[in-house]
Point group: C2
Chain length 596, copies 2
């Protein structure tokens, strides 16, 4: 089938169901950032392979909205099809909802698969169509067309992490969730986020690349908990361990039936942003259940790591640090030997060194290795024909991370490959100042991500430079490399607490010139109390030297220099016991104090 | 009448009206920070003279809540009366609402004067009593008891500021208000804040000490505007000027009758926080009026100063700067001559120098002159027996300001009086760093007061020191020295815009040791746009040298030193043309660059 034939099939399916159009989104029943191929229909239907798009098909038209990262790619991949490429966010381009509102008339119906769309997204489209007298109906017409070419649901072996790794049993976590539900006036929770299910039951698998989670749902009630997972995926021992903690197991696709048949009276806390529309409706329709809208308490609970998790996270960062040291030595050797290097070589070199470390499972995301101006594109990923040679000048930006049996890492370093321009040194130095000012912040315990974000932006803003993204995000524990609810970014209202982990990754991205980012993970720590209140601070988790060669030392303040030298002393002391003499000598030089 | 007799009278009045208790607050019909003595009943009823208290009287008990500034004073002034002194905010002390909820039973009634209480405050107490089945009733029993000793309403001559001073006519301001009302889906506004009435109609008087406003209300409708002001207070010429702009004038006490009789259909925007309860109810009860709750648009409009106002504000700061230079020279002379100085002498010395300046009307608030440890009390005011001698060591903190015919000023300097301790120098230096980091901030146009506040707190937080107040507040234009909606403080969500003025006044307050504050007013300015967005920055309005003698120069970064030296160069260049040769020589030395 061609793309146009597939679109025609969607159109025909709408007509056959008495409707006038179809909407297909990058979304799945779990409303997460990372979705299994089984649910990722848009590449097959449209030929567009980027993340995060929305396809609208009416009786006569079709259009695909993509964000700024993918304008060029969408134009190229949609060329020759009937689908119009819509640059979402560009001036003069209507939003999906506006476009639909202009095209649907009274009595007309738009189909979308409510089992694969967040409730608040469906509400947004319904609100847009209502003034015209048109409506939205939940119906899956995608499956019938996609048919045999559709990838199966993932089915990798599932396993439970021991409480010695996670610091809390599933039973303890359920108690914590119930305590939070109680505070919110609720008794039950439908858990649909893969990371939330994984956190709650200490359940992991390898269902998604780079993300060691299982495709599953759960339902926590006042008295029990049910896990919805495809049969046969749990070992008997793990199934018994869950049963002993009050967890019943049913089939993955039984959640909706379970909700419809639920006959105990409960108040269910539901987040419309992370609960799919069909599930929301099933919960609302059951007279035994009262729906109360609110934030999913698991988000906040898993955002704060417990002491066992933190000890494990620190260990995985030491392993990651050893791998990164060896990688950088390999890189320098290759450069010294004049070996031709392409961007795509970097991922291989890194994975080789990470794989030497105990407990390494996978990368935590596809490595970004971006040479020179390529690094100015924040979401650049070298692959296939998109691949540049690494020259012996300028910077190489490498953003990467690992999944270990004791944690998840995320780190960016920007390495000098040879001579640097004055601008490159300036941008590097200012980025480093931003990184340091975030890392050394001491603050009171009422500070939100928005308030803290200012510390990182200050040094770059002084030069009227900004990065068009957050300063940092939460990191999952053996889970999603991006995790909420905390983040360092404008508008984020989550108050920081000890035990939260966060990335600190300011950058400079000058189009066609250079991209620089310096990223450590930080742990939020208690810094003591005095008459003024409870103080918090950050402590680095990442144990990898930061290149000092590009630094314009005179731009740094004394406290910034002291932070960097202290960091490097700690990096050396922490990694040295796991390194050879040759590696120690190399690292000693990389960690040499500056500005003395 | 003794205090106990007055309380007994309140109790009797409640009984006589079929009620069971009375609540009296520091509040007036205008819901402002500064209230005329006419409305300030609590000093007369209780003997407590501090600001901001709440008195509750039941059939058998009475209690007065005061905040942390006034614990000691209230204990002293209430001693010997039946009124219990309640330390509001202290551990174990019930809040007013909790205390009332514990004492009122089903069917009982609490009286309060709803014409003198914000709607949301009354709602809070009504909500607290409702679960017990008790209720709140608006009734003024205060006036009948206070009787002849009650001060009359102020009646100073009113006058209109010319548009050459304010930059906009009343007609233009009404248009601006109507445009904002329209955005909020409303057509009318009851204007009750004295500063809001003053801004809207360019109306001023000297009804309150330090605050050149008139006690008046206004009502803006879709087609007209009515000013409620006591008869005879406007000159015929001013009354005619207002009439020509569509402003009708009625008696001050006619507002409620006017609202009740209003017969045009309007949607009235009402802020429950700044609209008194009786007015709110009158608006709600009129079937022609639809009440829509929302923020008063005048707050946001007057928070951004127009170019004419800004030019005038800059001029008044130059005058203030000249006065402050002469004052500091007088102070140094007195110290050099060994003249005994008390804290209360400072206000007199300052006023003498300000009075030499053209267009000086009044101070903008009672001068705070606090020597040594007294300055650690943030709201210290020397007066009567509270008065310390100024020794020749340590610091003298002076927070003061003026009302001129072209603007309102607010400035704090902390002057060394002789030898300083190491701690004093450290605290002074860190305070200065905080002040400078706020003043030199460059930021994008989405920043709120909360996000910006971090810039100022960072340098003090690094030493685990905080000040328990905002970094700064808005300043009225020939009006209240404290003005919203913008402020630099935690939780403030107002986004900064060019033309906003704000104080920058971080401090260190170490109990029984020292108090330090350094305050300039700043103007938020457009700093240009580039690919990253629209940049904003601050420019100092205050033109007064900051003592450099206490500064530990090595603690300052290069950019902080540069800011200070640039500031002092500008102070000298700006003031010199208005100074004598002797004064110029003195100022040149005070403005000498440091760290070179």
């Amino acid at each position: 089938m061609t793309v146009n034939e597939k679109i025609a099939a969607l159109r025909a399916a709408a007509r056959a169901n008495g409707a006038d159009g179809v909407l297909v989104m990058t979304s799945d029943p779990h409303c997460g950032e990372y979705l299994p191929d089984h649910y990722n229909a848009l590449p097959w239907f449209t030929g567009f392979t980027g993340e995060n798009a929305t396809l609208a098909v009416t009786g006569t038209e079709s259009a695909l909205w993509v964000d700024g990262r993918f304008y060029v790619q969408a134009d190229k991949q949609l060329a020759g099809t009937e689908i119009r490429s819509m640059h979402d966010g560009a001036a003069g381009v209507p939003k999906v909802a506006e476009w639909l509102a202009d095209r649907f008339a009274a009595g007309q119906t738009l189909l979308l698969d409510g089992s694969c769309a967040p409730t608040d997204t469906v509400r947004k489209y319904a609100d847009a169509l209502r003034p015209a007298g048109a409506c939205v109906k939940s119906l899956d017409v995608v499956s019938g067309i996609w048919g045999e070419e559709r990838p199966a649901l993932p089915d990798t072996p599932c396993f439970l992490l021991d409480a010695s790794v996670t610091g809390a049993t599933a039973a303890e976590k359920m108690d914590a969730v119930r305590a939070e539900l109680n505070k919110a006036g609720a008794t039950a929770l439908a858990v649909t986020g893969l990371d939330c299910v994984g956190w709650l039951l200490n359940l992991r698998a390898h269902d998604l690349p780079c993300t060691p989670l299982a495709v599953a749902h759960a339902f926590v009630g006042a008295a029990g908990c049910t896990l919805f997972l495809a049969p046969g995926r749990l070992s008997d021992a793990d199934a018994a361990a869950l049963a002993a903690q009050g967890v019943d197991v049913r089939g993955y696709d039984e959640l909706l039936d379970f909700v419809r048949a639920y006959d105990k009276d409960e108040t269910v806390l539901v987040s419309p942003a992370s609960t799919n529309y069909d599930l929301y409706n099933a919960l609302s329709a059951n007279p035994h259940l009262t729906v109360r809208e609110g934030a999913d308490p698991i988000q906040a609970l898993k955002g704060v790591k417990n002491p066992v998790e933190l000890a494990n996270i620190r260990e995985c960062h030491i392993r990651d640090g050893v791998a990164l040291v060896r990688f950088e030595m390999d890189l320098e050797k290759a450069l010294a030997e004049g070996k031709p290097l392409m961007e795509t070589d970097i991922e291989v070199m890194l994975r080789r060194r990470r794989a030497e470390q105990p407990g390494y499972w996978d990368d935590s995301f596809p490595t970004i290795a971006a040479y020179g101006p390529n690094a100015a594109m924040m979401h650049y990923h070298a692959e296939g024909e998109v691949n540049s040679p690494i020259l012996r000048k300028g910077f190489l930006l490498i953003d990467n991370g690992g999944q270990y049996d004791c944690g998840t890492t995320d780190i960016t370093r920007t390495y000098p490959m040879g001579p640097l321009t004055d601008n490159e040194r300036k941008y590097y130095t200012w980025t480093l100042q931003s990184h340091i000012d975030m890392a050394r912040a001491v603050f009171l315990d009422y500070c939100t991500g928005f308030a803290l974000d200012s510390f990182a932006r200050g040094p770059l803003w002084a030069h009227k430079i900004n990065y068009r993204c957050g300063t940092g995000h939460g990191v999952g524990f053996i889970a999603n490399v991006h995790e909420g609810p905390q983040s360092l970014r404008p508008q984020n209202g989550v108050v920081f607490k000890p035990g939260m982990t966060i990335t600190d990754e300011p950058g400079v991205y000058e189009t066609d010139e250079v991209g620089i980012r310096i990223e450590n993970e930080l742990e939020c720590v208690d810094a003591g109390a005095n008459q003024y209140g409870n103080w918090l601070a950050f402590r680095p988790l990442t144990v990898v030297p930061i290149s000092t060669e590009p630094v314009l030392v005179d731009e740094l303040s004394r406290v910034q220099i002291d932070w960097l030298n202290d960091y490097h002393r700690w990096v050396y002391d922490t990694l040295a016991p796991r390194l050879t003499e040759e590696e120690k000598t190399w690292l000693k030089a990389k960690c040499a104090p500056i500005g003395r």
